[in-house]
């Protein structure tokens, strides 16, 4: 069987592997192929994706930050913040944030669960889902939002006081879990039938 290395692109012949073996690239030593039990990678992906899914509502709905400025308090969740932006007239920004840090990450997590979970799906459908997930994944920017939060905290720390809310823990965990799920997912599983 021919397989190209993910890292350097060199194409190899890969012999059938025993359960405790891995095929590695002759040039760059990265792993090209695992034994044919895709259950392992699928199981990991499913576990991480479900964990991310469980944390997602908490990250979005619970208050993430509380700002105090001169005795004025403001507490907001991610969804609440988007609604406030929308109400204050910043329609474009609200839509962008809603799309890229809420809807698309959610779709990506759902797609990952679908891919890892539903083994019975038709191969063509799974391939289609995978292509979609790749496209969505590029635009799902939860991690970027975390970075934006950090930048804001550093920039504004002199002017206002911050209290971080419970959602931040859920948010950080959710981002890490969805990243873990994406790493664990082995796309070969789509076309190599169990």
């Amino acid at each position: 069987m021919l397989k190209s290395c993910h890292c350097c692109g060199l194409i190899h012949h890969v012999a059938p592997l025993h359960p405790n073996e891995r095929a590695v690239c002759t040039r760059c030593d990265s792993v090209i192929d695992r034994p044919k039990n895709h259950q392992t990678s699928q199981g990991r992906t499913a576990a991480a994706a479900v964990a991310a899914m469980v944390l997602f509502p908490a990250a979005v709905l619970l208050p993430i930050i509380e700002i105090e400025k001169l005795g004025h308090y403001h507490r907001s969740s991610i969804l609440g913040g988007i609604i406030e932006l929308y109400k204050s007239g910043s329609l474009l920004i609200a839509t962008v944030i809603l799309l890229f840090s809420l809807v698309l990450p959610l779709l990506k997590i759902l797609a990952l669960i679908e891919l890892s979970w539903l083994c019975s799906m038709r191969q063509r459908h799974r391939a289609w889902t995978y292509r979609w997930m790749e496209q969505i994944g590029k635009w799902s920017m939860m991690d970027v939002m975390l970075l934006a939060l950090l930048v804001m905290m550093i920039k504004l720390s002199g002017l206002v006081q911050f209290h971080l809310g419970p959602a931040l823990i859920a948010f950080v965990l959710c981002v890490s879990m969805s990243m873990l799920a994406a790493i664990c997912f082995d796309p070969h599983a789509i076309w190599e039938n169990p």
Partner: protein, 504 residues
């Protein structure tokens, strides 16, 4: 891909042999590494992580919703700019937050919903009072300065402990009149006019705030203005029957040939007025709550010069619980002069002790040598005893009977039961090494004089009290109590040129 095949047989633990078909192609054969078998266990471990994440998210929901507490509703006529998320504070500490504000059903006021955590929920029970702290500027007062730039907030005067729970309250329009602390002295002042006085105006004693005006209003017949005043508990002993109160409201500008003189003590006095009080050097008895004084428009010049020594404050409150009760004592004798018998006497105080002996000045217990021995009579506590019934222990070294010392004598008769006896353990052996604040324990509690340590100097004969302090002759022989230990540390000996505290 120059010559990748040469690499292909590099260290592989268990290289699978390529088929002849594969060898023909230009691609290298992937190396195969055997790995330690960890994948089987790892799979289940990751699901544990999922479970953990689920628990964490449940915990976060719990923390967010359970810690929030209950909602209470407060009626106000106006929200005064209060907004959701503004705080409910007590003594400056946040104990709740405004959740939302809406018009009430009749649309004549607003309903403020406040979320209170469980720990502080009991403060908002029946009897709690709420008001909105906002900046108030008027000619008489400035309030709530912290809310000019910052947010408005709700303030609470909490319900007493154990009050019935309630969830609907009526808010106050303005801060409530603060109830004076327990043990305050409440007196009423009668004035001809309000004279710029306001509620909460300070009452000053030597420029020091000792209380405040609780409420000012007309007398029931509107002939005078009455100010109800509360004197703080620790200063209530400064007010005596002959104290004088006068109005120090606002400020007075005197423009004269010598220049301009602005007369105002404090900013708050300038704004909300103030009452000054002075007590004469010869202070009268204490007053009790409900006493009425006249409020003068201005002070007589000599009022500012009064300097009574009044016992007050925490140390006095502690000592006053147990104050020695000295009793009057007279030593009478007869002397022979020019062939006649002449009556002589010495008046003073003595302190009965619980070991049966009596503490007094030596000169009070010892008649002079010239006295006729059969004529000496001791009178105290309703008793009249001849010298034969008195035993004065002679202390070696003091045989000369240095009069400026104390002695303890015992009597063969028993004292009447109603006479208070002071425990011997509460009498110091000698004067302390360093001066301290003392009280002169007069029989009448309101006549007790306080002497500051700064007015005392240590002399060879004892502690000498400054000449500036006025002490009545009547205090001769009075026990002196330390403010720190409440022990009797000496007796006061008043001579022609000095007032000295001598060792007991």
């Amino acid at each position: 891909m120059s010559d990748p095949i040469s690499n292909s047989d590099a260290s592989g633990a268990e290289a699978a042999l390529p088929t002849s078909d594969e060898l023909a192609s230009p691609f290298p054969v992937a190396k195969v590494k055997s790995i330690t078998d960890a994948s089987a266990g790892f799979r289940s471990r990751l699901w544990w992580l999922t479970l953990l994440c689920g628990l964490i998210s449940l915990g976060l929901y719990y923390a967010a919703f359970q810690g929030q507490g209950e909602l209470i509703a407060i009626d106000f006529s106006d929200s005064f700019g209060l907004k959701p998320e503004d705080r409910l504070k007590y003594h400056g500490v946040e104990i709740g937050a405004v959740e939302r504000i809406e018009l009430n059903r009749d649309r004549d006021g607003v309903l403020v919903h406040v979320r209170m955590p469980r720990q502080t929920r009991s403060m908002a029970s029946e009897g709690a009072r709420f008001w909105i702290v906002r900046p108030v500027f008027s000619l008489d007062s400035i309030q709530g300065l912290d809310t000019i730039l910052g947010a408005k907030y709700l303030a609470i005067d909490p319900a007493p402990l154990g009050a019935k729970s309630a969830s609907r309250f009526k808010g106050l329009e303005s801060p409530p009149i603060v109830t004076p602390p327990e043990g305050s002295l409440e007196v009423t002042l009668d004035a001809n006019s309000r004279g710029g006085l306001e509620n909460n105006a300070p009452i000053l004693y030597r420029g020091f705030r000792i209380g405040r005006v609780v409420q000012i209003g007309f007398a029931t017949d509107a002939r005078t203005v009455q100010a109800r005043c509360a004197i703080d508990p620790e200063y209530r002993d400064l007010i005596r029957r002959n104290s004088k109160f006068w109005n120090r409201s606002g400020w007075r500008l005197d423009v004269g040939l010598t220049g301009i003189k602005l007369d105002a003590d404090t900013l708050s006095q300038m704004i909300s007025g103030g009452i000054e009080v002075a007590t004469p050097t010869e202070a009268d008895r204490n007053v009790s709550t409900g006493h009425r004084f006249k409020l003068y428009d201005k002070a007589e010049p000599e009022w500012n010069n009064w300097q009574p020594s009044l016992a007050h404050g925490e140390a006095w409150k502690r000592v006053a619980m147990r104050m020695p009760q000295p009793i009057r004592m007279a030593l009478r004798w007869q002397e022979r002069s020019f062939g006649f018998r002449k009556n002589q006497q010495r008046l003073g105080w003595c302190l009965p002790l619980d070991d049966g002996r009596i503490l007094c000045l030596s000169e009070q217990s010892t008649a002079p040598k010239s006295a006729l021995s059969d004529s000496i009579v001791y009178e105290f506590a309703g008793l009249s005893l001849p010298a034969s019934k008195i035993t004065i222990p002679t202390i070696p070294g003091t045989t000369n009977a240095t009069l400026a010392s104390a002695s303890r004598f015992s009597i063969s008769e028993s004292l009447p039961a109603e006479v208070m006896r002071w425990p011997v353990g509460m009498v110091a052996e000698k004067l302390p090494d360093e001066v301290c604040d003392v009280f002169l324990a007069h029989h009448d509690a309101s006549s007790v004089l306080a002497i500051d340590a700064a007015r005392i100097t240590i002399q060879e004969s004892g502690w000498q009290i400054d000449d500036l302090v006025s002490i009545d002759r009547d205090f001769h022989g009075i026990p002196v109590v330390s403010a720190a230990t409440s022990q009797v540390i000496g007796l006061l000996n008043i001579t022609k040129n000095a007032r000295v505290i001598v060792s007991p």
